[in-house]
Point group: C2
Chain length 312, copies 2
């Protein structure tokens, strides 16, 4: 079973979650949203789990600090994509006897603290293959609330932070997929600046084509990307920029009503976030059925499956 | 590195957690306690992660429903031990291609829902060895608040729910370690009935000797168990009752000032919880340094290392 099959299965079952009053948003967004308010003040939580498995997400020989870093950063990036801030982290790890468990623990501990979600619990087990699973609890933006994938409407504009592609160096197994910076500050700034004008957001982990199609599907629209606008890393053409995974940049949707104001804001900021990360408009939302279409030289191509399929 | 070494390391580092205002209780209790109040109503959360790894916690050939059940039940049992109720669950799973990923997902989904913590997110990866990591978020008891391991004082009484020992059938690999019922209702009833008189609590996963010593250590006391009082399963002598792991019963401490009232309550209830689980006083707390002493035929033995050491 690959991840899409599993996701399909989760979605099919998610209907069953509706009997739980605490589930505000279940699987199908970057984070689940849960209401912890029954005993408290109606506070909402963002919940996310991600894994790093040896031979799948990292190669043997990858420095253990970067393994721990990536495991934490993946989940933190999803909290960012929901506009939130990390609160606390938990780690489950399977560690072969020859592996540097100590160093892995130190890395997870330090990186979790670095991004503001102290490691408050963990479970470790022996095993034949290193795998580390990081769960992060976060709090949504205080005024905007949780940003989901499902709020995009036809006519909205599609933007992206940073540059795309080439995150994984096939020769060494190293690269930005190990050292990316989760876009926490940038997402918070977008929430501040756009408020409800920030209609939907996600982080790009599996390639723009595939991920944008997922957001479009969650919103019941179609996304059109203009190939010529794509901000890519040096030496990366637009097709690779759409196919490469693990950019962990933010794909975000600005409501049609907010787009004029937003363009002025972005221009006034020199086309960058206050942290210096480029902001680029790459397309728009149209009426349609959950696909990603890329437009190049006046021709359309369906890019909905351009990207990386987990479990393949 | 075995689990005790890792725990020692976590404790040593936990001092570093004090700079995070949200950490109410870090590693060293059954659950971490985190304050989500900055943006909400001061609500506290219980956080816990546990794993089930093939060949370590379950044998090859164990029915997949029982694997999923155990993975969820282990974490839920810790939420119970903190007096809480489960709110939501996350799952990270590594699944070899020949393994029934579908069945595992179904089991985790259903058992999480069964115990009130719907599965709201997950991550699945291929790999050579099945491992499933379950993180559960819970809410503390509304009036008693989170119950920790650290509240016991000399003179307090030590009680246990249910019966001990023989949870793992060495011939088949099956047994109660796969089918135990997390003591959610019982823990809630204890919080209701005892309030602040419930000084400390934990679930018994690694053997009474080792676990009771951990609670004593967290409280800065010594625990004395009377061997003759131990409620054990049929065919289990008192030494095995103290050494066998995976009972997932509650070990709880009743404050000296509440003990008279509590004994009357327990007697009036026929020595059982309203759910029919036996309640047994097995010892008391004394001044001392984090050890578990068992008294048999007037002799004392140090039982602080009687039990199961992870990672051995």
């Amino acid at each position: 079973m690959n991840e899409s099959d599993l996701l399909a299965r989760i979605y099919a079952r998610s209907a069953g979650l509706s009997r739980f009053a605490q589930v505000v948003a279940g699987p199908g967004h970057d984070c689940a949203v849960v209401d912890a308010g029954a005993d408290g003040g109606g506070s909402r939580l963002l919940l996310k789990v991600d894994q790093v498995v040896m031979g799948r997400h990292v190669r043997p020989g990858t420095p253990v600090d970067l393994i721990g870093r990536k495991a934490v950063a993946r989940a933190v990036s999803d909290i960012a994509a929901a506009g939130g801030r990390p609160l606390a982290a938990l780690a489950g790890a399977v560690v072969p006897s020859a592996f540097d468990a100590d160093g892995l623990f130190d890395a997870v501990f330090q990186w979790a603290a670095h991004w503001g979600c102290p490691l408050v619990g963990g479970d470790i087990s022996g095993g034949s293959e290193m795998a580390v699973s990081i769960a992060v609890v976060g709090l949504p933006h205080a005024t905007r609330g949780p940003v989901l994938r499902s709020g995009a409407r036809p006519g909205d504009e599609v933007w992206v932070t940073g540059r795309l592609g080439g995150s994984y160096d096939a020769a060494t197994g190293l690269g930005r997929h190990l050292t990316f910076e989760p876009r926490l500050a940038e997402a918070a700034w977008l929430c501040d600046a756009l408020g409800e004008g920030l209609r939907a957001m996600m982080d790009l982990s599996d390639g723009l084509g595939r991920d944008a199609a997922r957001l479009a599907r969650a919103s019941g629209v179609r996304v059109r990307v203009e190939a010529g606008t794509l901000p890519s890393h040096e030496g990366v053409d637009w097709r690779r920029a759409m196919r490469d995974g693990e950019d962990y940049e933010l794909l975000f949707v600005v409501g049609a009503g907010a787009s004029e104001r937003w363009r002025r804001t972005a221009e006034a900021a020199g086309g960058r976030t206050p942290t210096g990360v480029p902001l680029t408009r790459i397309g728009r939302m149209e009426a349609g059925q959950g696909a990603c279409v890329v437009e190049f030289d006046g021709r359309d191509e369906d890019a909905s499956e351009w990207g990386w399929e987990h479990g393949e």
